[in-house]
């Protein structure tokens, strides 16, 4: 591990860290190594069956009747005003069957504690029964204030990785893609430095569900695993 990654090293211990306890039961709480576990109108649980072959994973579900403020997330506060932030996690939403264009929920966000702005990743139906992952990034160069797009999320347990260069205004995302030189999407020319500043916290799990998502999937868990964050180097798998 190089020195530049040192501050974010705790995040490496995230869900992947539970692999070491394979012979024992999964921990009852995600904290530690996560900084905060404060679900609201939802649930988080560490359960057996890691997505990467390890012992445990995170199950995240919204509750029946939940509002758009529902949050079934764990929080990592180890970053400190990071000018560049790379993160990877695994996700499996196979239990969330037959999505539609209106079944939408966040699965990850990374934000500044000063401005509250950052990047939000969400899942939504593509209109043909499959899921996509959208990205919304605060961008002062865009008239809407955001740069946004999406990539397909195939069935099964998949790796999602992104690289947000806040200072440089660059963004790339890889979805089940282990080739650093060929991201699924790459975009420069963003003004992320002004609206974001730097990344201080990361949140993993379902959040901000649409009414349709709650009506269809309340109580059904999305699965997460293998969270890793770094400042500059590609993570891969």
């Amino acid at each position: 591990m190089n020195a530049k990654m040192k501050v974010l090293a705790l995040a490496l211990l995230g869900l992947a860290g539970y692999a070491g306890s394979a012979a024992a039961s999964c921990p009852s709480s995600p904290v530690p190594p996560w900084s905060v576990n404060a679900p609201f109108q939802g649930t988080t649980a560490i359960v057996a069956g890691g997505l990467d072959g390890s012992a445990c994973r995170l199950d995240s579900a919204v509750s029946a009747g939940a509002s758009g403020f529902a949050s079934a997330q764990v929080e990592d506060d180890t970053p400190t005003a990071e000018p560049r932030y790379r993160a990877q996690f695994m996700v499996n939403v196979d239990a969330l069957a037959a999505p539609t264009l209106t079944t939408v929920a966040n699965v990850f966000s990374a934000t500044s504690s000063t401005t509250g702005n950052g990047i939000n990743l969400a899942i939504f139906g593509d209109g043909s029964g499959a899921w996509r992952v959208s990205y919304v990034i605060a961008d002062a160069n865009n008239p809407s204030g955001f740069f946004a797009g999406s990539v397909p999320l195939p069935a099964g347990s998949k790796h999602v990785e992104f690289d947000l260069d806040v200072t440089g205004g660059n963004f790339s995302i890889w979805l089940e893609n282990n080739v650093e030189a060929s991201p699924d999407v790459t975009q420069g020319g963003l003004n992320t430095a002004t609206p974001i500043g730097g990344i201080d916290s990361a949140f993993l799990g379902l959040a901000a569900p649409s009414d349709s998502f709650v009506a269809t999937y309340a109580g059904t868990a999305a699965q997460f695993d293998r969270f890793d964050s770094r400042r500059s180097s590609f993570i891969g798998f």
Binding site: V36, A38, F40, Q41, S67, G68, F69, S71, Q73, E75, V104, A105, N106, S109, T111, S112, S113, T114, T115, G116, N117, G118, N120, V136, A138, G145, F146, A148, P195, S201, F203, A207, A208, P209, S210, D211, F213
Partner: protein, 162 residues
């Protein structure tokens, strides 16, 4: 002197009820609210000065209110949305670029309640109530609203009778 104290105390209690304002367009101007009083505003007159509530996005403009929890809270903040825009009302323990994790919250396009469940709040602590867009709606919704606060008792500082 006792009469003066009494008059001051009554004035202090009555004055908030006379206010019918829009809420604050920044943390510094968050409007103090009191039990069982009506308030109204329009978030399109403000900016998106709160970027997130914990890990939740805040895609729309925000208006901020604040209250100090009493020994007991209860009832609901009853919210009415004008024009069917996709609104959210959230109560947190902080105000800033990130307003902190929700303590109570609800979303809707017509009428909805935000519970002031006793036990969710610590007596004496300041809480912030934001009217904003539904975090699940990236379009940044905004519009007019009114609400009636539930029971967030204010401590009576002084009172005496001849």
């Amino acid at each position: 002197m006792k009469k003066l104290l009494c008059a001051l105390a009554v004035a202090a209690i009555a004055a908030p009820g006379l206010a019918l304002a829009d809420g604050g367009t920044s943390c510094a101007t968050a409007q103090e609210i009191f039990s069982n009083q009506p308030y109204s505003g329009d978030t399109s007159t403000s900016t998106n000065f709160v970027g997130a509530f914990g890990g939740l996005p805040s895609p729309g403009p925000d208006l901020a209110f604040k209250f100090t929890a009493g020994a007991q809270t209860g009832g609901n903040v009853v919210v009415n949305i004008t024009g069917g825009w996709n609104a959210g009302v959230v109560i947190t323990g902080a105000c800033g670029g990130n307003g902190g994790n929700p303590i109570q919250a609800a979303t809707g396009t017509t009428t909805f309640n935000v519970p002031l469940t006793n036990g969710s709040f610590v007596a004496g602590n300041t809480y912030y109530l934001y009217v904003t867009g539904n975090p699940s709606d990236n379009s940044g919704p905004s519009g007019a609203f009114n609400f009636t606060n539930g029971t967030t008792p204010v401590t009576l500082k002084d009172f005496s009778i001849d």
